[in-house]
Amino acid sequence: MRRKRECKKVLTFLVDYFEGTLDEQISQRFELHILDCDECKKFVETYRKCVEVVKNFEVDIPEELEEKLYTFIKNVLKK
């Protein structure tokens, strides 16, 4: 029961943990729990990987659009 409560807490700390903004003491407790709980360890690892996959996702602006926008802005500024 106590363990389940600890698992639930881990979830609420995830964003701060990955931001590096988690209080040091809580961070240590978080890491200790992860070492001790296979379920949370697996969860956090997949969570981290998914965040990494998304972080590597990039969208490119079509080159001609940059020029088109610049021409548009120049015309507006001239008015």
Binding site: L11, L14, V15, D16, E19, T21, T46, Y47, K49, C50, V51, V53, V54, K55, F57, E58, V59, D60, I61, P62, L65, E66, K68, L69, Y70, F72, I73, K74, V76, L77
Partner: protein
């Protein structure tokens, strides 16, 4: 060029400063708007509208936030009101639901194929894009600004007009949704 100088030049109507804004933030703006409209022509139209607003209001920008925060707040608001005007919210929701279903099947297909090879870059990209696009709009914006564009949480909160706590909750829920969608492929090392 420092941000302060950039803003001063924008206020003077220097077109080269605008070119710099396009160079620095154009890609992020395009990605953010496109993720909401999913239409290139509309994205272009909205980008023009955003720059019209920047030109019109830059003199009122008091520099009590970062210029990029101000710019992205305009970008988000302009996109949302554009979509509202076009009454596309409803249509988009219906198509999202349909796509969710197609996507579910698509993910299952990928699962069933079960080859040991990792997916091609383009295919991986498409899967991640579909997963991001399937998120509810507000979650999608949070993920794009924070995880893809790497903005600080405080800036994301200002753009979304949310508290930091509220932004964290939104980000966490969005990540959980993405995790649910991407997990099978991530676990198999295909992403």
């Amino acid at each position: 060029m420092e941000e302060k100088e950039l803003v001063e030049r924008l206020k003077k109507g220097d077109d080269l400063a605008y070119r710099e804004v396009i160079r620095r933030y154009g890609r992020k703006m395009f990605g953010l708007i496109f993720s909401m409209t999913k239409k290139r022509d509309e994205t272009e139209e909205i980008m023009q509208e955003v720059f019209l607003k920047v030109i019109k209001h830059i003199k009122d920008f008091r520099e009590d936030s970062l210029f990029s925060t101000w710019l992205f707040r305009i970008t988000v608001n302009t996109t949302l009101s554009y979509m509202k005007k076009k009454k596309r919210k409803r249509e988009s929701l219906i198509s999202e639901l349909k796509r969710d279903e197609e996507e579910r099947i698509d993910f299952e297909d990928k699962e069933e194929k079960g080859t040991d090879e990792t997916l091609e870059t383009e295919e991986r990209r498409k899967i991640v894009q579909t997963a991001i696009e399937s998120l509810p709009q507000s979650y999608r914006i949070a993920i794009i600004l924070k995880d893809i564009e790497g903005m600080p949480l405080t800036e994301v909160a200002k753009i979304l007009k949310l508290s930091e706590g509220g932004t964290k909750v939104r980000l966490h829920r969005a990540r959980l949704m993405l995790k649910k969608k991407l997990q099978p492929l991530v676990e198999k090392g295909k992403l």
